[in-house]
Amino acid sequence: MEILKNVVNYILNLGGPVFVPLIMFIIATIAGLKLKKSVMAALTLGVAFSGMTLVVNYMMDSISPAAKAMSQAFHLSLNAIDAGWTGVAAITWSYKTAFLFFPLLLAINFIMLTFRWTKTLNVDMWNVWNKIFTYVVVLYITKNALYGFIVAGIQIVLELKAGDMFQRHIEDLTGMPGVTVPHFITLFAVVLMPLNKILDFIPIFNRPFDSAALQKKIGIFGDNTVMGAIIGVLLGFAAGYSVSKSLNLAIQAATAMTLFPMISKLFMQALSPIADSMSDFMKKHFNNREVYIGVDWPILAGRNELWVTVILLVPVMLIFAMILPGNTVLPFAGIINLSFVVAALLLTGANLLRMLVLGLITTPIFLYGATYFAPIITNLAKTTGTVKVQAGQQLSWSTFEGPDFRLFFAKAFNGDLWAIGASIVWLLVFVWLYIDQSKIALPSQRYAYPDGSTEAKSSTKVETKSTTTSADTTGLDLDDLDGMDFGGKSKSNKATKKETGLDDIDGMDFGNTNKR
């Protein structure tokens, strides 16, 4: 017994970046993956952890001194550095019980589908991480692992119900039938719901608004690299740095912002074998049923309103961070507020004006959420051994996902009476939201021009068909493809021609397949 305990402790003490890839390797092997692929997946996961550690530490080292200097100059206390969702997700995946949440999600979804309590089949295994993170938050506050699993379970149920209620709106907004987004961030619609109802009484919010032109103009500012550089140089000046030092900070900040998503990709690569086998398992069991396939939110990202809103909210976030009393978070890697905008897009039916107003009103909720939860994120980073956080510094996430839900439910399970009340109210508003969203007019018909038409003047919708028609592919047998090589091929576009030709020595020849 003692020996077993020692062995388990030894393995746990190896630290997240070693321990979790080890688990990954075992699971991948059990799932029947080839040895080469299991080894690759496990190693990639370890590399992703180390890579993220590298970038977060780099970011902390370059930004923290400037944040400190600025805080002193303006008498602020911005000591929490913002690692964004990519940083927090990385730290969360390295948590020791992370992999238990795959079966939890599967089991709950399986039961709910079997008893027909939901029509949503969630195959988005990447966002298991936000259930793990909820568990970590609840565990930290209540010191009780069981409560952590219960709240994560409640979250999974609510996400599936949100997937059910938003499906018809998502079909209307994207033109894609049969898919939905059972994502935690859609639950922020509960907070937005009463506010959005108030806007119904103001006429200007009941008209459509075209955002395509606006997006073209401001699109560049949303680029991670550009945004990092701008924030870096502003921070440098605010800290009283010299011009040369500020410009250097701009490059460092741009570097961190550019590298974050690059490292995060590695997580996806490493986790995809597990995610695939999990979602295959689910699909196999419910294949002959009419279900909505639940995927990650980017299927909505074709809507201009979404990007216009988050980019315009960036300066709002920065200003609020400076003026909100008690805020400790300096917005950086998480400054694009995806935690708000998806719920707002779905709830308002992509009404840009409403989204902007709701964003203005609710930005402080995220900053205060980030301030409140900073010690938990800092603690998680320390216990998983992924990131060094120096004394007097904290790690946080300026657009903390679902601060309302996580705070209320964690505190409720801790026995706080106010939180039990808040959680009940929250659930009641969710029921109201569910009923409302099930009968409210679809986004394309909800808002009318003064002449009564609902047709947008320059519609952002474009009829898009895949350029190869289905007739083209009927004669194509996927089993006959083996050994094709496209090394020498490219479209007839002068921009790409110079890059081709290096690989056309190998494999098959498609010499006669010029474009018609």
Binding site: T174, V179, G219, A301, K489, S490, D504
Partner: protein
């Protein structure tokens, strides 16, 4: 070298998943000479023109559709791959698009 691009919100999770699936498909069928990249929607308009095939999971906006048309890019609905519902339809379209490319 034929080049395929997939885009999503942060160029991290969803697009990377689709890229991985396409790569695996190519590997399983011994298809070589194709690179598949992931990016985010904010960057897409700047880099799309240099790609041969755009596999989308969110319906192309007017701006993106314009770039696709102007640069002779094949656009393929990648949603079947993303959701795992009948992914063969997307793979067939990708192969057809690749076959239609010019050989240099």
């Amino acid at each position: 070298m034929a080049k395929i691009i997939v885009a999503c919100g942060s160029g991290v999770a969803s697009s990377e998943l689709v890229v991985k699936h396409i790569d695996d498909f190519f590997e399983d069928h011994g298809i070589t000479g194709v690179t598949v990249d992931a990016t985010d929607f904010k960057k897409l308009p700047d880099i799309l023109a240099s790609y041969d095939v755009y596999v989308w999971i969110a319906r192309p906006s007017e701006e993106i559709q314009g770039i696709v048309d102007d640069n002779n890019i094949a656009s393929v609905n990648g949603l079947p791959i993303f959701t795992g519902q009948k992914p063969e339809t997307s793979y067939k379209e990708i192969i057809m698009a690749l076959k239609n490319l010019q050989t240099n």
